[in-house]
Amino acid sequence: MLHILTKAPGSDAAQQMQQAVGCEDAVLLIEEGVQAALKPHWEGWQDYHSRIYLLAEDVSASGLGEMVDAHVFPTVDMNGFVSLTEHHLQTVTWY
């Protein structure tokens, strides 16, 4: 399953998503979700290591590019977003 989070870490949406993410699931952070780049200690970075991504265009729109580079957080572009939805049968958006 792919989880799309559109709200910042700590939001109700983020907490509800964190209850639901399974060990095979991937997480994509878009819109306000990219603010996770400001929180390198957010549990999500450890819990979903190697299966969590930031949407690149929302990262640069938010001016978070340097933060993302500094922590080597993985990003995907819109095509990468589409690929993630191809690879997961189910997609749930948390907003």
Partner: protein
């Protein structure tokens, strides 16, 4: 693959329709088929033909219409959610005794059953809200 989108955010209120539109373009660019977009909740405002943003801002309604014309994407709007929020086709306006209407083809007012049909028919249904 065949994709469907569910859009529940209003233009200029939520980022959701912008994300949805960009995702739609990427889906099509990668050779997938986008069968339809279903507008529900506040998303019904995407269909307003009276939408008049400043000239230097994207007109979302026109962008959806272009997507329909170029790629034959169905644009379905939940009738119950739309009527509550003042989005009416000419036929609905007549039925309810209103003098004006703001929803026209290629947007179509339809029942919620259409969303469930889209979800069953498509390989993927992605929500933007």
């Amino acid at each position: 693959m065949e994709y469907g989108l569910l859009v529940m955010g209003a233009p200029y209120t939520s980022q959701a329709p912008h994300s949805a539109l960009r995702f739609a373009q990427a889906v099509i660019a990668q050779g997938h088929r986008l069968a339809g977009v279903f507008f529900y909740h506040e998303g019904v405002h995407n269909a307003s033909s009276l939408m008049t943003p400043p000239q230097d801002e994207l007109n979302l309604r026109d962008a959806w219409v272009e997507l329909h014309h170029l790629h034959n994407v169905a644009l379905d709007v939940c009738i119950a959610a739309a009527l509550r929020r003042g989005l009416l086709s000419e036929a609905e306006a007549q039925r309810h005794g209103k003098t004006s209407f703001n929803l026209e083809a290629p947007f179509e007012l339809t029942g919620l059953g259409q969303l469930l049909t889209l979800q069953k028919r498509c390989d993927r249904l992605i929500t933007f809200a």
